[in-house]
């Protein structure tokens, strides 16, 4: 009598096959993030690329006349818009960094457990406010406040948008900055306190140097968020193509330009493709910022 095929651990072939399939699906989902990043680049590039042949890139980046709908000769110069974006982002960062890192230090070093929980929850709620609500706050509340406090004609300007962006990027700085401070070994703190340092000296001389990479990454991610923010700046900057001479000038940003004009262009027109080109530019900027932040963080782990 021929020996019967041995049964494999009481499990049917079908179950094994099923498990193989499930593992396959899990692996596919695992690489989904890579697929989507490439897909985003591919599809945005696919819509924007045809204009590259027609457009003088030097003119595109360095001239400041943005007349996309002018009948005879539409001109696409994003110089002023790039400077607008930079000015808003820079001011927002300048406001957000001290507050964000200060709050991170306070949460991590100076307060008790209960207060820490309460502060972290509040910061989480702050992060949850939708950007369109921030924009609305800029349009109504901040607009009036800035007009009254600084006695200027227009309250929708660089300062307004920068304050909103600062409030929006502070939560991310706090949570990542706090992680960075938490990663500093407690023995550092104990050594410093045993030598008779005050907490202030501890923070300034020990923690900040030890956690500087993590804090830098926190700032970079905050900046990344500020560059990519759309609705709040669309509503609060005043939306005029303009190289700002003071923080009370209205400007326009790259993101807001796309949001405001894409709805009015015909698919496939030059104007439409230029807006996608701006999208590629934005994608590249945030990609570089995020990559740098990631490398900086990886740098700490290696140490």
């Amino acid at each position: 009598m021929p020996p019967t095929k041995p049964k494999r651990a009481q499990r049917s072939e079908a179950a094994l096959l099923g498990e193989k399939c499930i593992e396959g699906i899990i692996r596919l989902c695992g690489i989904s993030a890579i697929i989507f990043v490439f897909a985003i680049f591919f599809f945005v590039f696919r819509e924007g690329a045809p204009i590259l042949g027609k457009l003088d890139l030097g003119k595109f980046f360095f001239t400041q006349t943005w007349y996309p709908t002018s009948l005879g000769t539409p001109r696409y110069g994003v110089g002023a818009i790039i400077i607008g974006t930079l000015s808003v982002t820079a001011l927002a960062t300048a406001i957000a960094v001290p507050f964000g890192l200060g709050a991170a230090i306070f949460v991590s070093e100076f307060c008790g457990n209960k207060m820490k929980e309460a502060l972290k929850i509040t910061i989480e709620l702050l992060a949850a406010i939708p950007s369109v609500v921030w924009g609305f706050i800029g349009l109504t509340v901040m607009n009036v406040i800035i007009q009254k406090v600084f006695r200027v004609q227009i309250g929708l300007n660089v300062l307004n948008a920068a304050i909103l962006l600062a409030l929006m990027s502070v939560p991310i700085m706090v949570s990542i900055g706090e992680d960075a401070l938490k990663a500093v070994p407690d023995s550092y703190r104990e050594a410093a306190l045993a030598l008779g340092c005050t907490r202030w000296q501890l923070v300034w001389r020990v923690l900040l140097p030890a956690a500087k990479n993590g804090l830098l990454a926190a700032v970079l991610l905050g900046v990344g968020r500020a560059v990519g923010e759309t609705m709040a700046v669309l509503m609060a900057t005043g939306h005029s193509v303009n190289i700002p001479h003071s923080i009370f000038d209205s400007v326009r940003t790259l993101t807001a330009t796309i949001a405001a004009e894409l709805g009015e262009t015909a698919a496939g027109s030059d104007h439409y493709r230029v807006l996608f080109l701006i999208g590629i530019l934005l994608f590249s900027i945030t990609f570089v910022v995020n990559l740098t932040a990631d490398l900086v963080v990886k740098g700490i782990r290696k140490k």
Binding site: G30, F36, V37, A128, V141, R199, E229, F276, G279
Partner: protein, 304 residues
């Protein structure tokens, strides 16, 4: 007894140096505390201001009637329902993919260059500006996949946008299940998938759910990605019918409605945009608070 013996003086005497030290410590604490407060106080003031301005319009009818009269009167029913549709559909797409991706990263992937690239992709996907997601949605779903501007296209765009955050939070929840649980399961002869299904997922499901709930609030507030992929300024739907939209329709959304009323509609009653903002903010914060309460309860109940 009355002639009290002089008490021995405290063993440590505060010198000027110590006093100075304590003072500087107090000052540092106050400065950092003030910086934290500087973020929280405006938050409370602003929310309070919005609620006060919106108060006259807030009522149940406001939620359940359609906007009428060129969006100057009536309620926000069609926008509210549209937002619910977008959130639910995008979560149905993003949550399974995100959780499975987290399972892969936490249970299958080994520490190598490929895993590093995946993690890098997740971080970068999270950093892509929302307006670029909108361009992608328009290029890929609306034009390339020929879904036209529809709830489906907008939801898919939102799903890709929320994916990285779901992956990150699910990964954290999975990582909090102790390795010994898995080892015990493998030792009785379970396969990887059986371990995941029987031990890892049940023990981390609450953490995963918290992350997903938090995503609901983010999705509900997004405006830019849906502007060109499925949301419209105005659409009338039957009131009181929860299934009034089909996924091929275009829809209104709360966030978009707020933008429209605040910037494009002239002569709208003053309280109207405030009321929309308060409803949107209220929904978002309510969902967030639920997730936070959920998490606090979970932490106190943790068995290991």
């Amino acid at each position: 007894m009355t002639a009290a013996t002089p008490q021995p003086k405290a063993m440590f005497v505060k010198t000027n140096f110590v006093r100075k030290k304590q003072r500087s410590e107090l000052i540092a604490k106050c400065i950092f505390g003030a910086m934290s407060l500087a973020m929280i106080v405006p938050l409370i003031l602003i929310i309070g201001y919005l609620v006060i301005k919106a108060w006259p319009l807030l009522s149940w009818d406001f939620l359940t009637t359609n906007p009428i009269g060129g969006m100057r009167k009536g309620g926000i029913w069609s926008a509210l329902l549209g937002t619910i549709y977008l959130v639910v559909i995008s979560l149905c797409v993003a949550a399974p993919i995100g959780v499975l991706a987290a399972v892969y990263l936490n249970e299958y992937a080994t520490e190598n260059w490929f895993t590093r690239i995946i993690n890098l992709a997740v971080v970068n996907l999270a950093g892509v500006p929302s307006i670029v997601h909108a361009l992608f949605g328009l290029g890929a779903f609306v034009l390339f996949a020929r879904l036209d501007r529809s709830i489906l296209a907008a939801s898919l765009t939102l799903a890709i946008m929320t994916l990285p955050v779901i992956i990150a939070s699910a990964k954290e929840a999975l990582a909090s299940v102790p390795v010994s649980f898995r080892e015990a399961c493998w030792n009785v002869g379970a396969t990887r998938w059986q371990t995941i299904r029987g031990i890892v997922l049940p023990n981390s499901i609450s953490g995963i759910l918290t992350g997903v709930i938090l995503q609901v609030s983010r999705t509900a507030g997004e405006t830019a990605p849906i502007m060109f992929t499925g949301a419209v300024f105005y659409r009338n739907i039957p009131e009181g019918n929860l299934f009034a939209y089909s996924i091929k329709d275009q829809c209104m959304a709360l966030s978009m409605h707020l933008y429209t009323v605040a910037t494009q509609v002239t002569n709208a009653p003053e309280a109207l945009p405030y009321a929309i903002a308060v409803v949107l903010l209220g929904a978002v914060l309510l969902v967030n608070a639920t997730a936070i309460v959920f998490r606090v309860i979970l932490r106190s109940r943790k068995k290991w």
